[in-house]
Structure formats: C-alpha cells, structure tokens
C-alpha cells in the first residue's frame, strides 16, 4: 500500500470539490440500477417518462384525427384507418396516460415524501406494477402488429367480438394487465397512507393530495377487478364462442355495457380525483395561504368516490335500459355535482386574501378551475334525462368529457408536473416560456373543444369519419385549435427538457410550500429523510420564510405552533 496520499484531482486544479449531496438520481448508477430500483422516486420518474411518451403517441393520433376531419370525406386516411386511429387515441389516452398519470407517476414520487417515509409500504410490488404497465403497453403494440383494433376504447359487444381486425384479443389482454398494475398501485397507496404516516400527521392533517390519492386508490382496488372479469369474458366469447354478450349465441350486449361502465364510470373519478388533489395543493401553496374549507374538500373526495359507484347507468340512457333505471341513475348522477361544486367554491375562497404568485403551475391550476367549471356544468345537460336523449353519442359528449378528462385531469397533471418539476429534477424551468406554453394550451384547448359543444348540440354524432357539409365550419375551427394546443405542448416539452440541461439549480422549496416534500433537498436524497420528521399543519404557512441566500423558501420549524405541541396531543 502506498504511503503517499495523492491530492484530489479537483484540488490540484484549484477548484473546491462540490459538497457531496446524496441525491436519488446519482445514488446508484447504471441502467440496472433503474430497471431493478425499489426507490419510489425512480419508479415515479419511470412512470412519468412512460406516460409522457404515451401522451405523445396518443396526441399524435388526435392531431391525425383532427386533420382527417378538416373537410368531409377522405383527407389523409380511409374509414378503416380512421376507426383504428380514434380507437387508439381513446385507449392510449385513457388506459396508458390519464389513469396512471397522476397516481402512478406523480403520486409515486410525492406520496411517500409527503408522509416523511422512506418509501411506499411495498416497494417490490410498486416496481412490479410498473413492469406490469410496460407489459400492458407491449400488448397494445403487439395488437397493432396483429392487425390493430377498431372497436372504440369502450369495446362494445357484439362489435368487438365479431370485428375482423386481428388485434382485439391482444389489446384487451393489455388492458387486463394494466388493470392489475392499477390495482397494485392503489393497494400500495392505501396501506402506505394507513401505516406510514409520520407522528403528528392525523388524517385531517394530511395534505389534500393524499386524501384524493386515498379516495382514488379505493376506487382502483374496488372497481378495476370488474373490468378485469368483463374483459376476460370478452376474450372467452371471442376465442371459445361462449355466448355471454353476443345475442346470436344467447348473450346480452347490454350486459357488457353495465359491466364496462361499472368500472369505467368510477375510472373517470380515478382520473379526476387526484387532479382535484393536485389543484387543492397547488392553489394553496401558490396563494401562500391556508386552504379554505379543508374538511369539506377532504370529505367531498370521499363522497365523490362513493357516488362514483352508483351512477354508471347514465352512460346508457338510450341503450335500451328500462326507463325506471334511467330515472334512478339520473337522480343519483346529479348528486355527484354537489361535492364537485363544493370543491370549486372552496378553491375560489382559497384565492380570497391570498398572495397569489402567477407561476406556470398556478396558471395551470387556475386554468383547471376554468375548464373544470365548463366540464362540470355541461355534465348537467347530460345528466338531465330528456336533453341527454338528444345529446347522447354526439360531439357534445365528446366536448364534455374532454373538458373533464383532458381540460381538467390532464391539465392538473401538467400543473403538478410544473409544481414538482424542481423537486424531481433539481432544476428550474423558464417561467416565461412556461407561461407562454400554458396560454397556448389554454387557448388551443378551448378553441378545439368548446366548438364541439355546438357541433354536438346541432346533432353531429361522434366517431364519424364522414359528415354533412353543414358541420364543416365547426370542424375547421376545432382543428385549428388542436394545432395551437399541440404547439403549446411541444413548447412545453422543449423548455422542460432544456431546463434539465441549462436550468438553474432548484432550491429545496421554490414555491413556499409547507408539506414535507419541500423540506428535503431538490432532488431528494435516496432515503428522503434521515429520521422520520414530526409534522404540523401542512397548510399553516406562518413557518415559511423567504431565504435570500438560497433564492427559495425555508420552513422554520420553530415558528410552527403545531410542531411544538406535546406528542400525545397529536
């Protein structure tokens, strides 16, 4: 062994070595350290990358669809191709993008840190659920190689069991697998929230994002198995010709719709509930003030989760379901509007007397309120029985659910992505380009989809390749809007990617947040926290102070009264 200590390379050149900061991105290196990682943060990042790639693919199909619809008749593809495109657009956006986007991607990253935990309760199950997601996605790709599928994302029978396209079984298998990915994530989160909350964090001191993730996880665990068995029955019918849904073999096609919507209506809340959770936190943090009406918001999440199981029949008002059932489902459907309205009013009240910084994340949050209000209110036309008869399966429905699923769920995801981006990557993005991108997306979105309300109420059915000339003006406006929106998303991708390379280093707490994820470094260390921290009220901002040196906020724990109360009280 040499007795001479060689001076460190950096010191030789006169530079001081950077402080060794533990960081989940650099903790271990190599491709294997990602593939087999049990770190919830890395799994969250892998989910995020996968979801965004899927979003790019689904979005490309959307642009192709809008381009095809510019004039009536054939533009770029034939009817067969068009039918496959809208099916792919729907299936990718629902099963690969929106359902996993917030819970699996953002939730995975943020949830354990918010709890001050080192990881989720079952890290291996977490990794398994990610690879199940990948397996499901591969099945979807395989189905394309086998001839694709043109069933619509709803797989309505008997069309789906008789169509000539060869990829139906493969994609249905994929969705079946994705369902298990979703169930495992949900189960993991339920256990994590129950068992790993830190001292001081009672149920009613949880960040509202956790309440919404909890409500979502309940739906994932309880509803998804119904989809799984339904899809299995569909596969059995298609391969073994056992008549379950096809009347020519003694089955009942309306039964499929009941089964399908028994999952897929709650699935709408799997998409929107975590979005509402993000908005609750984004609005409070960027307004720098306590959320208004915490209890009402928390309970409205649970109420929405419960009601979500009781309203599936409102997708079937014209399906041949009995008028009595229609009446009951219409009545229960209206009950969902109440907790949704409560949330909107509470968010507005949170702005009152706040100190609102109009960051990109906040602009997306405010866009959410605007778009969700339209999406929610137009649900009233569809919940009302006699107007729904006219509007069902027209573009009015298309516009409505895009306002809710994209304008709300996905915009909230983008809000959350910007909110937690500095935490995930350790870099700040350009606020200027962020605001421009948000504006483009917001304007593009409204031009695209508000037009479709008129298109639908004027009677244009959905899933139409060809249409009457009287509808063309609406289609042209809608398509132009979609191009503007696409431009906004491309810009967003550019400045976010640029921030990784050129962005300024993010402080631990760039926005003035109070919950635990803002109290570890950006990006967080591998173990998140060395010891489980005690927490107080995560919406009490009195302990947050601006630190000029760090160019960020810090939480001065000595200032928080709730942190200093005796342990037995909490």
């Amino acid at each position: 062994m040499s007795t001479i200590d060689l001076p460190h390379q950096d010191d030789q050149q006169g530079r001081t070595p950077a402080p060794v900061v533990d960081n989940y991105l650099t903790y271990t290196r190599g491709i294997k350290s990602w593939i087999f990682t049990l770190d919830h943060k890395r799994i969250g990042v892998m989910y995020m990358v996968s979801v965004l790639v899927s979003f790019l693919v689904g979005g490309t199909f959307a642009i192709l669809l809008r381009t095809e619809l510019l004039p009536p008749g054939k533009t770029i593809v034939g009817a067969d191709m068009y039918n496959q495109f809208f099916t792919l657009h729907g299936a990718i956006m629902v099963f690969l993008v929106i359902i996993p986007s917030i819970p699996a991607a953002l939730g995975n990253f943020v949830l354990p840190i918010m709890l001050g935990a080192k990881d989720v309760a079952f890290p291996r199950l977490n990794l398994f659920s990610y690879w199940l997601w990948i397996a499901g996605a591969i099945c979807a790709v395989v189905s394309l190689l086998m001839g694709g599928f043109d069933t619509g994302w709803t797989f309505y029978t008997p069309y789906s069991t008789t169509t000539e396209t060869g990829g139906v079984i493969a994609v249905v298998t994929g969705v079946f697998i994705l369902g298990f990915s979703s169930i495992f994530t949900g189960m993991n989160f339920i256990v994590t929230i129950h068992k790993l909350r830190p001292p001081g964090m009672t149920w009613f001191r949880m960040p509202l994002f956790l309440w919404s993730i909890y409500a979502t996880a309940m739906i994932q665990v309880l509803a998804t198995p119904v989809l799984a068995i339904t899809l299995l029955l569909l596969i059995i019918e298609r391969t073994l010709n056992i008549g379950v849904f096809n009347p020519s073999m003694g089955g009942d096609p309306v039964l499929f719709q009941h089964f399908f919507w028994f999952y897929s209506h709650p699935a709408v809340y799997i998409m929107i509930l975590p979005a509402m959770g993000i908005i609750s936190d984004v609005i409070a943090v960027h307004s720098h003030r306590h959320i208004f009406g915490y209890t009402f918001i928390a309970f409205s999440s649970i109420a929405i989760a419960v009601f979500s199981f009781l309203v599936w029949g409102h997708h079937m008002f014209t399906s041949g379901q009995s008028p009595l059932m229609n009446t009951i489902f219409s009545l229960i459907t209206f009950s969902v509007s109440i907790p949704s309205a409560i949330k909107v009013f509470n968010w507005l009240a949170t702005l009152y007397k706040g100190s609102i910084s109009l960051n990109t994340a906040m602009l997306y949050g405010l866009s959410f309120i605007f778009l969700f209000t339209i999406g929610g209110l137009t649900g009233l036309h569809l919940g009302t029985l006699n107007t729904d008869i006219h509007l069902h399966d027209t573009y009015f429905v298309v516009a409505h659910f895009h306002y809710v699923m994209m304008g709300s769920a996905l915009i909230a995801m983008i809000a959350g992505l910007h909110h937690w981006w500095p935490k995930m990557t350790g870099r700040m993005y350009s606020e200027f380009w962020g605001r421009i991108g948000c504006l483009l997306v917001f304007i593009g979105f409204n031009v695209t989809f508000f037009t479709q309300f008129m298109l639908g109420s004027q009677g244009m059915p959905r899933r139409y390749y060809d249409y009457l000339p009287e509808y063309q003006v609406y289609h042209v406006i809608s398509t132009i809007g979609s191009y503007v929106m696409a431009l906004g998303f491309v810009l967003t991708a550019v400045y976010l990617l640029a921030s990784i390379m050129f962005g300024r280093r993010a402080p631990a707490n760039p926005w003035g947040g109070r919950s635990l994820e803002w109290q570890c470094t950006s990006p967080p260390p591998h173990d998140n926290f060395k010891t489980t921290p005690r927490v107080g009220n995560c919406y009490d901002f009195s302990a947050v102070v601006w630190d000029e040196k760090q160019q960020g906020y810090v939480v001065d724990r000595s200032l928080d009264p709730t942190l200093n109360e005796p342990a037995d009280k909490a």
């Binding site: 009817a79 039918n83 619509g152 309505y156 008997p158 069309y159 008789t162 169509t163 720098h288 003030r289 959320i291 208004f292 009406g293 915490y294 009402f296 014209t318 041949g320 008028p323 009446t327 219409s330 009545l331 009950s335 109440i338 309205a341 409560i342 009013f345 507005l348 009240a349 702005l351 007397k353 706040g354 100190s355 609102i356 910084s357 405010l366 309120i369 209000t373 137009t378 009233l380 036309h381 919940g383 029985l385 006699n386 107007t387 008869i389 006219h390 008129m454 109420s457 009677g459 059915p461 959905r462 899933r463 139409y464 390749y465 249409y467 009457l468 901002f541 009195s542 947050v544 601006w546």
Partner: protein, 378 residues
C-alpha cells in the same frame, strides 16, 4: 302562493303545451330545427340549463379573475392570512346547488316520460338495422330505405338489429334509441309539419358500428296524411308493377342501392368482392358460370355447381349467396354481409342485373335508358 308557483311551473313544465300547437322551431345557435312535438320542450329544458350554466360560469370566472388581480403577490408575502373555513358559507354553497339540480332532474324526468310513452294510436313502423343500412317496413308490407312518416300522427318505430349495435337518431325530432340485436327497442315521435319540395330531416346512426358507420345516414320524409296513405300503397306494389322483362334494369338499380356500400361495379375491392372484374376471374356472372371463384378454404366454385352437386345452376348459387351470405366466403373476404330479406322477384332482378352488368355504369345507372326512350317514342 299560486301566483308564485304558476309562472314557475310554466317555466319548468308548461313549455311543451305552449309550443305544441305551433309549427317547426327554427335552427338556433345551439339547437337544430325542431320538427317534432317534443322538440320544443327539450329545447326549453336545454335553454334553462344553459342559463344556470351561464350564471355559475360567470360567477366562478369573474370571482377568479377578480381575486387573481386583487390578491396578486406583491413583494414576498409568504403567509397571507385568509380565513380557513366558514361553515355557514360552505353549507350555503352545498345546499343551494342541491335545490337547483333537484329541479333540473325533475324537469328532465317529466320530459323523459313524454319521450318514452308512445300514444296508443301510434302508427307502427318496423325498423331493421344492419351494417350499414336501414330497412323500414310498413304495416302493409311495403319497405323503404329512407323513412317516410305521416304528418300529424304519432309514429312508433319498433327496432331491431341484424348484427351489431346501432342507434337511430333524428336530430330534428330530438329522438334517439339504440337498436340492439336479439331484442326490440322502440321510440316514438310526432311531426306535424310535412317536409315539402324534397326537403327532409336527417336520420343518423349514433352507435359506432364500423366501416360504414358515418354513411349510415338516411332521409326522413314527413308526408301529409293523404299523400302518405297513397305513398305506402304504391311502395307496397312497386316491384309487382314492373314487367318481368324490365325487372333487371328497373328494379335492379333500386335494389342495388343496398349492396353498393360493400360491392363496387367497376372492379374496386370493397368490404365484399366487386361485381365487376375480381382478381382477373371476370365479373360476377362470368366467374360464377366458369366456376373460377375461389373460396376461403381454397376450393373453387366449380366444385359446387353442376348436376348432382350442391347447386344445379349458377343462379342457385347466387340466390344462396344473397339469402345466406355466410355459407360460402370468397377468398380474402370475411363474413361481413347481412342476410338479405329479398322476395323472389327482387332476387330475379338482381341476378338479371348481374347477367347484364355491362349495361350499367360504375354507379349502377342503366346505360341504355336512351334506347328505351327511343323505343317508347316509336
């Protein structure tokens, strides 16, 4: 008390009575022309909901922008002291919407009862949907591709599908109902204003059914009651009135309308094999007579036609192909064709057309029309 309730009741429920006596309502910003007796009441509920929406949307957005401006961050205020909750306020915005949506449910429900309750004296028309055509059958046995209904009389459609789900939607009537294989569904409407001068209402399929879904639209003609009675008698006999020798060119093209979605005449492959030249085997009649047609199991048609075989004559094979299309599948084509309800004369007409396929253009128009006119003039 009544003075308050009565106008409110009119607003919510009385609209249909107020409009029912009038004619069609014109197209508005939101709604297409209203041409049935229930359309005005639906439009009225739609408008009512719209106004609720305008109000709440304006409320939310104005408050949002106002707060955004008034409470924008000035300096580095990091702990704004706003109220954290207000039970009275929160209960207010919980309870008031309950009453509003309850009222909405009620008016929707009341209107819905009208939609699902056909009057007892309704004129019944049977509807059969299949990929991608509608067939309307009238009580006297007449059938049509477009829908003809009498004005001023309730009409009830009794609908079923031969293959997958379809949905019958007439936007100007505001009615829609899924058409399901293996069961009968119904809808009813009453149109008071006849459609004059070749005017019509559109009928759409609104349940996705594959390739031809967006072309499954047909026309709805509302005829004055007397004209309708005349039309339906005429329609019931149109095939019988044609002389046998004229069948192939008079009835053929009319019947071919239901085939053209899948079978071209110029050799272009479609959902089904073209009636023109297919894979160099000749047109439909040539390849049937020669037996050149290849089936999906690789066998040739020639093994089926001839004395002692499955079919005595080529005509027998063609007849079976129309009435039981799934029995033999031409190579490269799936079992996509629905069973055709054709009587013997209709089958005769179509086979006659196949035999003289050269006399028709690519659109199924008979090319010797002028010769016929010449003959008649002589």
């Amino acid at each position: 008390m009544n003075r308050v309730i009565a106008p409110a009741m009119f607003l919510f429920c009385g609209a249909s009575a107020a409009f029912a006596s009038g004619g069609n309502t014109p197209r508005t910003f939101w709604m297409p022309e209203g041409a049935s007796t229930i359309a005005p009441s639906i439009d009225h509920v739609f408008d009512m909901i719209n106004w609720v929406c305008y109000f709440f949307f304006a409320l939310v957005v104005i408050i949002m922008f106002w707060f955004m401006w008034k409470y924008r961050q000035r300096g580095r205020i990091v702990d704004a002291q706003g109220p954290t909750h207000n039970m009275a306020l929160e209960l207010t915005w919980t309870i008031i919407p309950i009453f509003i949506v309850a009222a909405m449910f009620f008016v929707g429900f009341k209107g819905f009862l009208n939609i699902v309750t056909p009057p007892e004296n309704s004129y019944e028309i049977d509807v059969v949907a299949q990929k991608w055509a509608w067939e309307f059958k009238y009580p006297n046995g007449a059938t049509s591709e477009d829908l003809y209904v009498p004005a001023g009389q309730p009409v009830k459609l009794i609908m079923s599908s031969r293959d997958v789900l379809h949905s019958l939607y007439i936007k100007d009537f505001r009615v829609k109902q899924d058409v399901i294989p293996g069961r009968y569904s119904y809808l009813w409407f009453q149109a008071n204003e006849p459609t004059l001068n070749d005017d019509f209402h559109w009928l759409f399929c609104t349940e996705y059914c594959g390739f031809g879904h967006s072309n499954m639209n047909r026309k709805v003609y509302v005829l004055p009651e007397d004209d309708f009675a005349e039309w339906v008698v005429e329609q019931g006999q149109w095939l019988d009135k044609i002389l046998d020798e004229d069948l192939y060119f008079k009835a053929g093209p009319k019947l071919f309308v239901r085939c053209v979605q899948c079978h071209s005449l110029d050799g272009t492959p479609g959902i089904g094999p073209s009636w023109g030249d297919h894979a160099g085997q000749g047109n439909i009649w040539e390849r049937t007579v020669s037996g050149e047609t290849v089936f999906d199991d690789g066998t040739k048609l020639s093994s089926l036609i001839g004395p002692g075989k499955a079919y005595e004559t080529p005509e027998d094979y063609l007849r079976t192909s129309m009435l039981n299309p799934g029995k033999h599948l031409v190579q490269g084509y799936g079992n996509a064709m629905a069973v055709q309800a054709l009587n013997d004369r209709a089958v005769d007409a179509l086979i006659g057309m196949m035999k003289r396929i050269d006399e028709f253009d690519a659109n199924g128009k008979w090319l010797k029309e002028s010769e016929l006119v010449d003959q008649e003039q002589q």
